[in-house]
Symmetry: C2
Subunit: 340 residues, 2 copies
C-alpha cells in the first residue's frame, strides 16, 4: 500500500465515527521533533511586521493606504497564504478507498490574516473601526474562497497566546478552506435541523430568546448581537457571540452591522482580559457549509474559549466535560468587570 | 430560575448537539481560582501512600496481603472514592427541563484506583503480574458498579503527568460511573452499528484484519491483543490496544487473558516511553454502555494518547484535527524502540 501523496498532505476518514483528519505526510514530525517543539517567538524577526512583506507568500488581499503597492508597506490588514499550509491549494481531490479506509488528497486553502501592522497590539487593543476592517477583510476572503467548488467549508479562527496554540506572536487570524465539513459543524447542523423539522423554529433563536428572558447567562446585549455563557458550557468562561436576528452565514452579514460586531468582540475580549488577567484564548466562527444548498436552520456565531484548564484523558476519550465554573457565575463575573 | 442543586453537581445537555456536561455548582471556581491552578504535588504529603489510608475516603476494594485490615497498610492495589468527586453517589436523578434546556442532578460514582503502594513507581514500571492485579481490580469495580441501574456508562481512564491533567503524582487510575452515555462512545456505537447492519461484521474486527494484513500501522501483535496506530489518528503516536477476538465489554475479559493484556500494556507504555522520552499521556477504556441491552457490534479497546501537542482553536472548534506524524511513521518508530 502506498500512503504517500506526491508531497500532498492527506485527508483520512475515521472508519468508525466518520471524522476527517489531516495527516501531514510531507515534513512529517519524528519523535525528536516533538521534544523540541517550537516556542512562540517573542523577539527577533517577525515575518508579519511591515518591511518584511517579501518574507511571506504574496498577499491575496490587503486593505492599503492610497498609493501603496501590493507586498510593500502601507497596509492596515493583510492576508497571505500560510507559509507552512496544513493543506495544498492546487490539485484534484483524488478521492479513493483502500479496503475499509477512505482518503483523499489534502487539498484546501490555508491563509493568515494579519490584523494590524503593529507587532505587539492584539485584537482587543485595536480601535473598533480597525476591528471592523479585520472582519470586513475576513468576509471578503470567505466570499472569494466560496467560489472554489472543491471547498465545502471555510473555517476562520484565532489562536491567541502560546497555551492556545499560537506559533507567532504578531496578532493574526487563520482561514482554512477544506473539502470536507468538520465533524462538530456537522453535528450542529444535524441538531439544528432536527429541531427545525420538529418545531419549525431555529434552535439558536430559541436559545437567544430564553437567555434574554432569564438574563442569568447574558454577558452583554448589544442590540444586533448578544454574548452569552452557554447553558452546557464545556469550559469555564466559554462565551458565545451571536447575531440576535436569524442569519445562517457569517459572510452574509450586512456591512452596516460590521461595526457593532467589532464593538461587541472588542468589549467581550476586554471583559475576558479584565476578569481572567489576559488569558490565552481561541475563537472560531461557526457558520454554514458551502454545499450548493442553504441551511436556513443554522445560525452562525463565534465561540470564544479562554484556555484555563488542561483537558484530561477523561474529556478527550469520552467527549464528556467537567466544568468547574457554572456559566451563571462566569456571566456575572464578566458583566461586573469594569472595562473603562 | 434556580440552578442550584442542594450541593449536587449538575448534568446539563447541550440543546444543539446533545452533549452532556458536568457543571460543578458546589465549590465553583471563581476567576482568581484559575490563576492559581494547583500544580502536581511532587513532594510532601501523599494521601495515596501506605500509612495514610485514613486520609482518603474508606476503601471500596483492595487486594491485600493475608491478615491486613481494610484501610490499613498491607495492600497491593486499593480503590477509594474520590475525595473531590465530579459526581455524587447518593440521590435521585431528578431529570427535568427548563424551557429548551435539559438537566439532571450530577449523580454518579467517582473512584480512584491506586495502582501500587510505592509513591514513585508508575504503571509502566510495575511487574506484569502487578499490572494484571490492577486490571483485575478494575474489572471487579466495573462489575460492581454495573449493578447500580442509575449508571449507564462506566468510564475508566488514566491521566499520567501534569500536562495530561494528573493532579497527584502517585500513579492511579480513575473510574467514573455516569447516568449518561458519553458522546464519543455514542458516536462509536452508532458508527459500529451502521456498519454491522450493512456488513453483518464488526467494524473493529475488520480494522484488525486489514491492519494485520498490511502491517504498516501495527506496533505489536501479542496474539490475543494487538496494538496499532489508527489510520486516521488525531494525535501523533495515538495508539489503540484491542483484543483480537471480538468482545464488546472490557469487563467480560477472561481471567486467563488478563496477564497477556497486562504484558501488552506494559510493553506499549515502555515503547512510548523509549520513543518519546517518558511523555505525559492519557489512556481510556472504550467499552459498551450499561443500558440493559447488549451491543454485539461494539469492540472494546484502549486508546492511549501521549500528550505532545497543544490542541488549538481550530481543533476545539471544528473537531477536525491536524496530525503531523503519520501513523505509519509512528508505528515504525515504536516497533523499532529497543525496550530491553
Amino acid at each position: 500500500m502506498d500512503y504517500s501523496e506526491d508531497g500532498f498532505p492527506q485527508l483520512r476518514k475515521d472508519p468508525v465515527i466518520g471524522r476527517w483528519v489531516i495527516i501531514s505526510t510531507d515534513r512529517a514530525k519524528r519523535p525528536t521533533d516533538w521534544k523540541t517543539e517550537q516556542e512562540v517567538k517573542t523577539d527577533g524577526f517577525c515575518p508579519f511586521c511591515p518591511g518584511n512583506e517579501s518574507k511571506t507568500p504574496p498577499e491575496v488581499f490587503a486593505l492599503r493606504d492610497g498609493g501603496s503597492k501590493p507586498n510593500s508597506t502601507g497596509w492596515r490588514v493583510r492576508v497571505v497564504s500560510n507559509k507552512f499550509p496544513a493543506l495544498q491549494i492546487e490539485g484534484h481531490l483524488n478521492r479513493r478507498g483502500e479496503g475499509i479506509y477512505d482518503m483523499m488528497r489534502g487539498i484546501g486553502a490555508h491563509e493568515v490574516l494579519i490584523e494590524n501592522p503593529e507587532h505587539s497590539i492584539d485584537l482587543a487593543a485595536l480601535p473598533v473601526e480597525h476591528i471592523r476592517d479585520v472582519f470586513w477583510s475576513l468576509k471578503e476572503r470567505i466570499c472569494d474562497l466560496r467560489k472554489d467548488e472543491r471547498f465545502h467549508y471555510i473555517l476562520a479562527f484565532k489562536n491567541h497566546g502560546k497555551a492556545a496554540g499560537a506559533s507567532l506572536e504578531h496578532s493574526h487570524l487563520q482561514i482554512i478552506a477544506t473539502p470536507i465539513v468538520p465533524k462538530r459543524v456537522q453535528e450542529e447542523l444535524s441538531g439544528a435541523k432536527k429541531y427545525y423539522d420538529y418545531k419549525e423554529r431555529c434552535i439558536f433563536c430559541d436559545i437567544i430568546r430564553q437567555e434574554k428572558s432569564s438574563g442569568v447567562r447574558v454577558v452583554s446585549d448589544f442590540g444586533k448581537f448578544i454574548t452569552i455563557e452557554p447553558f452546557a458550557a464545556r469550559f469555564p468562561f466559554e462565551t458565545w457571540l451571536l447575531p440576535c436576528d436569524h442569519q445562517s452565514k457569517f459572510e452574509d452579514i450586512q456591512e452596516d452591522d460590521l461595526s457593532e460586531l467589532a464593538g461587541a468582540m472588542k468589549e467581550t475580549l476586554l471583559r475576558l482580559n479584565k476578569t481572567l488577567d489576559f488569558p490565552p484564548y481561541n475563537f472560531i466562527i461557526h457558520t454554514s457549509p458551502q454545499l450548493g444548498t442553504d441551511f436556513p436552520e443554522y445560525h452562525w456565531h463565534f465561540e470564544i474559549i479562554p484556555k484555563l484548564t488542561k483537558v484530561a484523558g477523561f474529556e478527550w476519550g469520552s467527549g464528556f466535560y467537567i466544568n468547574a465554573t457554572p456559566p451563571e457565575l462566569a456571566a456575572e463575573c464578566l458583566r461586573n468587570a469594569s472595562i473603562d
